[in-house]
């Protein structure tokens, strides 16, 4: 079915219809301005990226002993120091690293690590303890804590079709936008429009029906705001033609158009490499690095790099020793990357992972991931991290 026919057949017959009289358009509500704010871009690598074959400890013999067929050959590694270097597929990041725009934090994890994708991703997204189940995400709780000053869903945007748990708070949630124009078109179906554009709207009830209408109206208003604001800017920088690069290009468009968004969330899948890892992981790492390098250079060019912090994580790393089928199994601690124009500590933030001191064959974490979150909350988003992480975590010095 053609796009046009689709819109027609799935649109609803129009007519001023079904709107509680207490509603009013979101535009008419208070609209505080945000000025001089900084952006945080979170990149999730889903599937448990093998950190040891990403930032390769080429100076450590144990690495080559434990990974007889899977180790990255010493000759092709992009060496950053005597111990560690980049997987050759990350070559595009060398320039970024050399400019002082990249910081690599080694051995990030949490106590009693969980090796299930589901559970570990939940832990990273909710910032919970390993034995605690939270139904709100850490960005969502950041939104909750800032409801008063930034009540709009577009304060946090996930460039995707569906919203991750990380972005969901109790009061506030971010908004998922894969393509601003498509979102706008969907909300502009006549029926939807009728539901939100009604006169005589006073206030929203606190019950579930009121909540649904409120969400609908916010979506409607946000779609309008995001499309109309972002269309004023055209990205001129070159990006690779991958889906992931396109998502970052969209983030660049949003940032450069001056969207009042504090947090962006993007993910790249395909890192669950149990077998025949080298090619698969290499392919994904190249997609990642080429897109990120383009994005960082683009932001530098437009003068936005100093106002932007980019953080990349994966739900866990891999075991130190390779498995029998040229892959690696689920492990624990991993590296986190931070990019930005004003890093306090560029390069390696801390020492390379200790391959001699393992726990059941897995790396021991040196830095709790919540210390990384705390740093971004305290020093970048200017909120007290204990409000959001439910306990106080000390900040690190990468920004």
């Amino acid at each position: 079915m053609k796009r046009r026919a689709f819109i027609k057949s799935s649109s609803l017959a129009s007519g001023a219809f079904l709107i509680p009289s207490f509603l009013k358009p979101f535009e008419a509500m208070a609209k505080p301005e945000l000025t001089g704010y900084k952006n945080l871009v979170i990149i999730q690598l889903s599937g448990g990226n093998d950190g040891l074959n990403t930032i390769v400890p080429h100076g450590n013999d144990i690495y080559y002993q434990k990974r007889k067929t899977l180790a990255i050959a010493n000759t092709v590694i992009v060496k950053l120091n005597d111990i560690q270097g980049l997987n050759p597929n990350l070559a595009a990041l060398q320039e970024i690293y050399d400019q002082g725009w990249m910081s690599i934090i080694n051995s990030v994890g949490y106590p009693n690590p969980d090796r299930s994708h589901f559970r570990s991703m939940d832990i990273w997204q909710t910032a919970s303890n390993a034995d605690q189940f939270l139904s709100t995400g850490w960005v969502g709780r950041y939104l909750d804590a800032n409801c008063q000053s930034c009540p709009n869903p577009y304060t946090a945007i996930e460039v995707d079709d569906t919203l991750s748990l990380a972005m969901k708070g109790t009061q506030m949630k971010g908004i998922a936008v894969q393509d601003p124009n498509k979102l706008l078109q969907t909300t502009r179906e006549p029926f939807f429009k009728d539901l939100v554009h009604q006169p005589n709207n006073e206030h929203l009830n606190e019950d579930n029906l009121g909540y649904l209408y409120k969400t609908m109206i916010e979506t409607y208003s946000s779609a309008d705001y995001i499309q109309n604001t972002s269309k004023t800017y055209k990205v001129t920088a070159e990006y690779p033609s991958t889906g992931f690069a396109n998502q970052l290009k969209t983030v660049s468009k949003f940032i450069n158009a001056g969207l009042q968004t504090r947090v962006y969330y993007v993910s790249l899948s395909g890192f669950d490499t149990h077998t025949n890892q080298q090619n698969q992981q290499g392919r994904q790492l190249k997609i990642y690095a080429d897109a990120v390098a383009a994005f960082i250079k683009d932001l530098k060019q437009t003068g936005k790099l100093d106002d932007t912090l980019v953080m990349t994580f994966s739900e866990f790393g891999r075991r130190v020793e390779q498995n029998a089928s040229n892959g690696t199994d689920h492990g624990t601690a991993n590296n986190v990357f931070v990019f930005g124009g004003k890093l306090a500590k560029a390069g390696f933030y801390n020492d390379a992972p200790d391959l001699t001191n393992l726990e059941n064959g897995d790396l021991k974490y040196q830095i709790d991931f919540r210390n990384v979150y705390a740093t971004m909350l305290d020093k970048w988003l200017n909120v007290n991290n204990s409000q959001i992480l439910n306990q106080n975590f000390s900040s690190l010095n990468f920004i």
């Binding site: 079915m1 689709f6 057949s9 799935s10 609803l12 017959a13 007519g15 219809f17 079904l18 509680p20 009289s21 889903s46 599937g47 299930s116 994708h117 589901f118 559970r119 991703m121 939940d122 034995d131 189940f133 139904s135 869903p153 995707d160 079709d161 569906t162 919203l163 748990l165 972005m167 949630k173 908004i175 998922a176 969907t186 029926f191 939807f192 539901l195 579930n208 029906l209 909540y211 649904l212 969400t215 609908m216 979506t219 946000s222 991958t242 992931f244 790249l268 899948s269 395909g270 890192f271 669950d272 490499t273 149990h274 077998t275 025949n276 698969q280 392919r283 994904q284 997609i287 089928s325």
Partner: protein, 460 residues
Amino acid sequence: MNNARQIKHLYARGGFGIAMGELLQRKNWSVKKAVKKLFAVSEPIVPLNVLTENLDLQSRADLTEDQRRAFQEKRNQQERTLNKAWMQQLSTTTDQLREKMTLFWHNHFACNIGNAYYQQQLNNVQRTHALGNFKTLLLEVSQTPAMLQFLNNQQNVKAHPNENFARELMELFTLGRGHYTEEDIKESARAFTGWAFNGKTGEYGFRTGTHDNRTKTFMGQTADFCGEDIINIILQNKQTAIFISTKLYCYLVNETPNDTHIAQMADLFYSSGYEIKSLLELVFTSDWFYEPQNIGNLIKSPVELLVGLNRQFGIRYDNLDVLLQFQRTLGQVLFKPPNVAGWPGGRNWIDSSSLMYRIKIPSTILNAGVIDFTGKATPDDEAYLASQRKQQFNVINRVQAQPDWNRFLQEIPLQFPHLEIASLLLEPPLNARVTTEVNNAPDIKTLVIQLVSTPEYQLC
């Protein structure tokens, strides 16, 4: 006497809604008669039996990489088959109450493992005892390979106790947080050592060799307890009846607990020896169940939304995969709860994008349209994706569904007022504006499509 409103509410909560024709036939029934009927048709137990092969019993040691991949694909295939079979059963069965309660236990005893055969088995245990005795249900669920595996009791042995099962048993299945100590967890974990299944046959069997038969002190009592003893002690504690009653109250009545009503439920549940049917009868025949504040105020889960729509309009799908895609997009895939605590539910189902899809999906299905979205990969897809060059699904799904419009329209009496149709299709009471607009709809089909696209339709 016209009890349409009460009967509609009963079916919205004790099932997945009632088709218009059936409701019109029963509108003069007493509530008591309708409740009796609801239980009567749920007497038969129709298990899911679509999977006959337990893939985990095969040895995989010597597989080549291609064979491994094929094996994984077969596993995924089983998961899809099972999911679709249950969706189909939910959408077509007459024993709504049993299925509605099976869904409740599915979330209460949440389990997410790669073995679909074991999932099917667990699901059938939950179905068999859905309206039976909670103690039997708890015991049988705890001894399924699915749960033994998911909560690591398989690794719970005398020399190295694994406390996962003991902790979740108390925190999530029976007492709730704050009603036991860390010491209770440690001690009871020892009692559950030896509860295991045979990896070669898939059968549960108690292993005396790994069981810790020294004395344990649990909740103030000391003896050489085994797992069954621990469960008995937990059930002797009335807090278990209160915990389950509260959860059930939130599922069937209102997300905001009412202490008086819950105490009433818990008293009966406890004194009946944990008979679920008695507890449900109490709820469905209580006056408070039909009070206005308890009607049309619960947000349907994605599965409830889809199943309700399927039932109301007798929808047939050319390809049931689309139902799986809907579940993913809306955030509830059967057999894939996000974690051991299950789906959080309520307002957690709703965010900007999920609400958009929820409002769009019913009209799209009823209008034979196309839905256009890119699915987000689940952790299970990751291994598959890692081996693929394409890193994103670009799914444009033709819904290809046939609603039974003939049946639906025939069930509506001639000259039946539009307003009546609206009030039968939507649970929340209609406000003045709805009343006016409904009367102006050009025809019934347009009216109905508009009604299923309202925020009101998201509520039950």
